[in-house]
Each structure stands twice: as C-alpha cells, then as structure tokens.
C-alpha cells in the first residue's frame, strides 16, 4: 500500500521549510533512520531522518523548493512495482485542499497569526531561487518561547523549568535518549552572555577557592566529549561544504588607515556617537559593492544571482559559536545608523535574541578579528555568497618619506572569493576600490 511522506515540523516555530536537497532518489528503498533530505527551517538546516520503510516512488517537492509543514513531499510504497497512480491522485487532491484551507484563514488574520512565525519576509532570505513577491513583511518574531506540543523532544519537567526560566528549548542540546532534553540540560544550560561588555566570565568562581589557571597549582583539566549543539553542527556542516565545495582564492591588500583614524576621532566628538573602524569598513564595503555588483553575488549551481540590494553580514562571536546578523541596505545608510544597528545586532546576538530575519540572507560577509591583535587572516565563504572580507587589526608601519623614516597606521584586508563567480582581477579591483574609499573616507559622505 502506498503512503504519504509529509514535510516534518523540525522546530516549534517552523511553519514552512525549504526542502534543500533530497539525499535519496526515486526508486530507493527507505529504511527507518535513513537520512532522507535536508530541510532548511527558520533556524537552521536539518537532515530529516525517515521513520518509515518502503520504496520512494515519487518525489512531489523537488530539491530547492519550499513546502509547508505537513505538506505532501513524496509517496512511498511497500512494493517496488506497485501501482501508485490512484493513491497519488487522491493524495495530491487532499494536499491541495489542505493547502487552500491553510492559506485562506492565514491571509485574513495576518498580523496576529504571524507573530510567532517566520513570515515569508524578503525573498532573498531563502537560498532557493524564489521570486520577489509583494507579500507583506511579517513582524519580527519575538524570541521563541517554549512551544508546548512542538516537536522539540523534552521531558515535562525540562519544559516547565525552561518555561519558568524563560529559556527556549529550541536548539538546546539534549543529553537524554535521542537528544531528548532533560532536567540536567536545562539546569546546566548556560544562557548566552547578556551584554556584549560582559566582564571576564566569573561563572565558575562561585566556589570558595579560586584556583590558578596556569602552573603546578592549576587543576588538571578533564578530557571531555562535548555534544554538538545545533549551532556547532550547522557551522560545521556549512563551512565544510563551503571550504570543500568552493574553488576559493585569497587576495590581500594593505590600507593606510590614517584618514579613517582622523575621521573617527572627528566623528566621535559628536555627542552620542561612537563609530568603530568596523562600522566604517562596513560602509566602505557597501560602497565598493555598488561599484562591483559581481562581488555582491551568490552562486546557485546553475545560475549566479547578482543581488540588487546590499545586505552585509557581520560575523559576531557568541558563546558556543558564531552568527552573522545583517545590516540591510548598508549602502543606503549613514555611518551613524550603521553603527547603531551593528551595536544593537551584536547585543541581540550575544543574548541569543536575533529574529531569523536578522541573520538569514545577506549578500556579503565581513569578519573582523582586528580586536584580537590579528594582523591578517583568511575567512571561509558564507555560502551561497561569492566572497567574504577578513579584516585584520591596525598596526604601525615605518615608511620612507623622501628619505625620512615616518610612521603610518595600516590595516590588512583579505578577501576570499569563489572563483566560479569572482575572478582574480575583479577581486583585486574590488579591494583597490575599497582601499581608495578607506584612504579617502570623506567619499563616504556622498
């Protein structure tokens, strides 16, 4: 007998997902526990494991297409050669009826209904090739509260404790069977640091004795196996795919930062502003991207999308991983606005309160390790983007001015490019344009 396979709900707030890739093909025999397909949810990409057994007879939703939760995605059958045409017809009809029923009341009560969802928002957020539509942008979701009855596996006690503590269980690593979240996990859950300016972590200093970190008196560190949380899994998967699957190359350029420093000290004399080097680099990058739209592109396998808008992802290190919140339309915004947006995004990221719209999508990424005393480094491309800029710290360099030794502030920029989209000369031209902008930052006022 044929059976239907439906789009799973992989997070409590998930209403729709993109069936990114099928990992099996029509005709394959599916066993419980087999990875069927990758599904991009509002939070991350998850490999969906089969709970059924049978032959995969028909894929209804092809790879790269979105589907609503519980929408028909494929048909299984017990026998390999079984006739499924009658079942398929019935299932498709039922599916259409369900979809129609779902979308009808939704549209009527849109503002209220989307408050918990990941509304369709802007088309560029989804990596699949969608069409820009005029759908209203949903209100950004508040940080997901524990959704009772969701498919997060958690014990009743863990749910109550999390609810009480105002922690979301979504994405929390569970130590119970099959990743079930239990009391222990909630008790030992470390919330992401509350403020970006958090003092050196004092977390474990509650005990009366402060033991030294180094030397013979330091405690012996235990060897421990740390389970991968959702974020580490996602970072691992995406960046491995990126570094293995992308023909990358690196171009480094040195920039004289004297003018930027001058501009900063002037800007920061304005009351209420504290513009960082990174803010200025972001703005300058946005301008350079306007000049070289090819760099502001994404690679989709069978086409390259040159993005019309310039949405810059800024890599932020947070406890347990990193995230790249987005400054939208950075080329349209003034330095003041960019600066305050980045500050607020960083604070939200560290508190774990970014809404999906705030970190999904983006057309170009900047990663800055300058504050750690790094001179220069290379970054891994954030797919499907075509390039990423790695920003080092500012250091002093001696140069000769008419035979006289002088000092200047320099900063090294390294761009990693996907050679399928950006060629070497273009990368050099882009960096050169960026260098000019940073050495003549007054242009940024235009």
């Amino acid at each position: 007998m044929p059976t239907s396979m439906l789009m799973p709900s992989l997070s409590p707030t998930m209403e729709e997902g993109v069936l990114a890739k099928w990992l099996v093909k029509e005709g394959d025999f599916i066993k419980p526990g087999m990875m069927l397909c990758s599904v991009e949810t509002d939070k991350t990409t998850v490999d969906y494991e089969s709970m059924d057994e049978g032959f995969l007879r028909k894929i209804i939703i092809p790879g790269g297409s979105p589907a609503k939760v519980n929408q028909l995605i494929a048909i299984l059958s017990e026998e390999k050669e079984e006739d499924i045409s009658a079942y398929l017809e019935k299932a498709m009809k039922k599916n259409e009826e369900q979809l129609a029923a779902k979308s009808a009341p939704k549209a009527a009560s849109a503002p209220a209904a989307t408050s918990n969802g990941s509304g369709p928002a802007r088309a560029t957020y989804a990596p699949a090739p969608p069409v820009r539509t005029a759908t209203a942008v949903a209100a950004p979701a508040p940080a997901a509260v524990v959704a009772a009855g969701g498919r997060v596996k958690a014990s009743p006690l863990a749910r109550r404790m999390a609810e009480d503590a105002g922690i979301t269980l979504d994405g929390m690593a569970g130590s119970g069977p099959n990743g079930r979240i239990v009391k222990y996990d909630v008790e030992n859950y470390k919330p992401l640091a509350a403020a970006p300016s958090a003092a050196p972590v004092k977390g474990k200093s509650e005990g009366p004795v402060q033991r030294p970190l180094y030397g013979s008196l330091a405690p012996i560190l235990p060897t421990q196996d740390i389970a991968l949380n959702m974020m580490r899994k996602t970072i691992g998967k995406r960046l491995l795919e990126s570094s293995q699957g992308t023909p990358e190359f690196f171009v480094t350029m040195k920039v004289d930062m004297g003018a930027v420093n001058g501009l900063r000290s002037q800007l920061n004399r304005a009351p209420g502003y504290k513009v960082s080097v990174n803010d200025i680099v972001t703005k300058a990058t946005a301008f350079a991207l306007r000049e070289f739209p090819t760099v502001n592109s994404a690679y989709y396998g069978d086409f390259i999308r040159q993005n019309g808008n310039i949405d810059i992802c800024v890599a932020v290190s947070i406890e347990g991983g990193l995230i790249t919140p987005i400054v939208r339309d950075a080329d349209q915004k003034g330095l003041g606005q960019i600066s305050s947006e980045i500050k607020s995004l960083v604070a939200k990221a560290k508190a774990g309160k970014l809404a999906p719209e705030e970190y999904q999508g983006g057309t170009f990424t900047i990663s800055n390790l300058g504050m750690y005393g790094v001179d220069e480094f290379t970054a891994i491309i954030n797919p499907p983007q075509a390039a990423i800029l790695a920003v080092g710290g500012i250091s002093q360099e001696v140069y000769l001015d008419g035979g006289v030794a002088k000092q200047k502030d320099v900063m090294k920029l390294t761009m990693t490019s996907d050679h399928r989209v950006v060629d070497g000369a273009l990368a050099a031209q882009f960096l050169s344009a960026l260098k000019s902008l940073l050495e003549n930052p007054v242009w940024l006022m235009l």
Partner: protein, 467 residues
C-alpha cells in the same frame, strides 16, 4: 595460557550474568566464572526462592481467611518440607535458565574461584583444586555480598541462622527472634508469622524498613502488629545465649532502656551485608576499596585500575539485584565504548514482599525535608479503591511526592497487596521526568489497584475524585 577473552565476568548473579549477556550481544568474547551455582544469591538463595516461600505464606493466609470469601476449607495443615522443596525447585529452574542463556549467548562458563593475578590475568581454581589461567581484556567483578557476622551471634545453622539457612530449614521454628527489620527481616517475619511461628522482630532504628518513608513504615508496623508479629523498634539486642540446643534466651533493651526477656528456639540474624572482596587478589592488582570495604568505582563502574570494573553488591550503594544488572549494563557499555551516563541511583526502586507489600522509588518525605525541597504530597488509600475492596485487600495506600515548584515526581511510595507490581509506572514516570499532570491525565483502567496512583497524583493538587 589456556584461553583469552575480551571480557571475563567474575560472579554469575543478576549483575554478572546480565553483564556477560550484554557483552556477548555487543560482539565480545565473554567468559563468566562462578564458584557456586549460576545465578548467584538472587536466583539460588535470595530474591527468587524467598518469593516462592512468601507465596506459600500468602496461600496460607488466604486459606485462613477463606470463609471471608465464602469458602469453607477444612483440615488445612502445613507441609513444611514441601514448602521448602517447592522453593528449591523454583531456584533450580531459574539457575538452569541462566545456564541456557549462557549457552545461547555463547558465553563460556568456568566453574571455580577466580583470583586476579595481574591486570588482565585471572587464575581460576576449581573445586578439585585444579588451576587454570585465563586472560581478560576487561574484568567485571560481580562477586556480591554476604551477611555481616557478629561474634555475639555465632551463626551455626541451627540456633543462630542467616537468611541462607532459613531458606533450607527442615523444620519450622516455633518461636523465632529476628534481629534486623530491613527487607530480609521483614519478609521472614511475615512468612514465619503467617505459617504460625511466634515471631519477634527487633530493630535498633526507630522504624521497621528504615530506608522506607516513615509514614509507610508506620502503616506496615500497624499491619504487622495486627497480624500478630511482635515488633520492637528503637530496641537494642542485649545478651543472646543458647542455653541448650533449641533454647535461646535473649534480652532486649527498648528505647526507655526497659529490659524485655524472650525465650525462642531460633534466632535469624539479618543485620547488614558485607562485600565479598576477599581472596580476589584485589590488592595485588591495585583495586582500591572505599572506607566501608566496598570496591571503589567511578560513574561507569570502573575501579581504580583501568579495565577492571565492579558492579552490584561488591561495588556498594543499594544492595539490590536490579541495581546490579543495571550497573552491569553501564560497565559493558563503557567497555563497548558507547557509555553516555552512569546509573542514576535516585531512580533505583526498592521492594519488600511481605503482605502488605512495600515498594518505593525516589525520595522519602523526610529526605525532601532534609534537602529543603518544597513538596506537594498526594495520598490515596486502598480503602477507597473499588478493586481493592473487591479483592479484599484494602490495607495500605499510594503516596506520591511532587516538587512544589515544577510538579515533578520526586518520590513514590506504595504499601498494599500488589505494591511491587504497581511501582513500575512510577519508576518510568520519574525516568521520563514526568509531573503530576502526566500521571493524573494518563487514563488508568478501571477497576484496577493502579487507579490509586492516578488518584494520588490528583490528590496532590487537591483534585482526587474518590476521596
């Protein structure tokens, strides 16, 4: 070298034989060394044969009360040797069952006493004194425990006996003094009393079944007194002397230091157990003991020597068969390299098979108080249960303790005729970190004794239907 194995288990009780099977299922080559009968104390001289005896006592109890059920039974008499032989037969069948399981799982059974000669090398001496060496990648010590001996109670198998002798008595004692009201003492007290022995049960601590919830123990005490068992709590045993074979004079000192003089024909000593760590070569290979003499182990049952594990009674904590089996699984999963968690000792159920039965898992009310945990307690007496009334077992209750803040089940305590069977759902509830809601909203079949569990959960919220 005669033979070598991935895992050698020493001792074939419920810890050892389960570990051996798990090891074999995990693809390892396993041997088990046993110096006596397969199945250890549990199957041969403990859990199983005592349950056989207790069933005889229960049947006797029913016959005594047959008229209550509308049946007139005449000429009931006790065939004591038959009760004993039935119990021995049951034990034998179970031991054979283990033999079969070993064969089925291709586990080599080596008869003899094992001694660690070096890490990974074991010398086995058989009953005839023949020796052979076996090599072991990993060793699991599952040698169990034995009754604690006291010089003032010289165990001789006739005047002074342990549980082991009680399981093989040719004649029924007329007057019996039982020292210690733990599970063993309490079960024998019920058994002998029901069969007509005059039983005196003495406990030094203020309650019988000292590890159980105070309220439950009090309920059992009241029932025991009603059944005619002489119970002395907070009472010390003074001089106990066999003045001649079968005539023992004992002096008890109660809490008020008042002396109670008894003359009995047998004394059953059931005061504590000591781990079997002697002659195993532990010092030789460097396996360390804790200050109570049990083998020191980590969360995965590994001793101070890598590759040597200890499980069950010899590793301390609760001396219970099911705890031993569970530790055996932990040790083997560590050996197989997929151990995630050690055992949660707060989730080990405890059962006593007298009538009414006592069963519990988790914290007692007193323990919650000592830990300063705010609780909500729900109780449901079997006297309010339709099923209990129908079967004539209205004694006892279900008592559930929930955390006040989150409503999680912290402790479950049942006293009643089928308490030990009813406990399982509460162990599962605790393991799954359930709250009163899941328990009270699980529809329980009617009429069952287990409905009392649901009602007790309701009662914790002041929502019980039938009280």
């Amino acid at each position: 070298m005669d033979s070598s194995y991935d895992i050698v288990v020493i001792g074939s009780g419920p810890g050892g034989y389960v570990a051996a099977i798990k090891g074999s299922q995990g693809g390892k080559k396993v041997a088990i060394v046993e110096k006596s009968e397969l199945g250890g104390i549990c199957l041969n001289w403990g859990c199983i044969p005592t349950k056989a005896l207790l069933k005889s006592a229960e049947v006797a109890h029913y016959l005594k009360h047959a008229a209550d059920y509308g049946l007139n039974v005449k000429d009931v008499s006790i065939d004591y040797p038959k009760i004993m032989s039935r119990s021995r037969d049951v034990a034998k069948q179970n031991s054979n069952g283990v033999q079969f399981l070993m064969k089925k799982n291709k586990i080599d059974v080596i008869q003899g006493a094992a001694k660690l000669v070096a890490k990974g090398l074991i010398e086995v001496t058989d009953a005839q004194g023949g020796r052979k060496n076996i090599q072991a990648g990993n060793v699991i010590l599952a040698t169990g425990a034995s009754p604690r001996m006291f010089p003032q109670y010289p165990i001789d198998g006739s005047n002074f006996i342990t549980y082991r002798h009680a399981l093989d008595l040719k004649d029924q004692p007329k007057k019996l003094l039982i020292i210690g009201a733990g599970a063993i003492g309490v079960e024998f007290a019920y058994y002998f009393n029901t069969l007509g022995t005059e039983v005196h049960l003495v406990e030094m601590l203020p309650q019988i079944l000292p590890v159980e919830d105070e309220e439950i123990a009090k309920t059992l005490l009241a029932s025991f007194k009603k059944q005619g068992i002489n119970c002395y709590t907070a009472t010390k045993v003074g001089e106990v002397k066999a003045v001649k074979p079968g005539v023992i004079e004992a002096k008890l000192l109660d809490a008020a230091n008042k002396e109670i003089a008894l003359t009995v024909d047998r004394v059953l000593v059931a005061v504590g157990m000591v781990p079997n760590t002697k002659d195993l070569g532990l010092e030789q290979v460097g396996v360390k003991l804790d200050d109570r003499g049990f083998i020191k182990v980590d969360a995965f049952q590994e001793t101070s020597v890598k590759g040597i594990f200890a499980i069950g009674d010899v590793a301390g904590k609760q001396l219970l068969a099911h705890k031993a089996s569970a530790e055996g699984e932990v040790a083997v999963s560590k050996i197989l390299g997929h151990a995630k968690h050690g055992l949660d000792y707060g989730l080990i159920p405890g059962c006593t098979y007298c009538q009414p039965q006592v069963a519990s898992v988790g914290l007692t009310e007193k323990a919650c108080k000592e830990k300063n945990i705010a609780v909500k307690i729900g109780r449901f007496p079997f006297s309010a249960s339709g099923k209990a009334r129908a079967i004539g077992h209205t004694e006892g209750m279900v008592k559930l303790i929930f955390g006040a803040k989150f409503g999680e089940l912290l402790g479950a305590h049942i006293i009643g005729s089928e308490a030990t069977e009813m406990l399982a759902e509460l162990g599962l509830a605790m393991k799954l970190e359930s709250t009163y809601e899941e328990i009270m909203h699980s529809v329980h079949a009617h009429p069952t004794l287990s409905e009392a569990v649901m009602e007790a959960a309701m009662d914790s919220q002041g929502q019980s239907v039938h009280i």
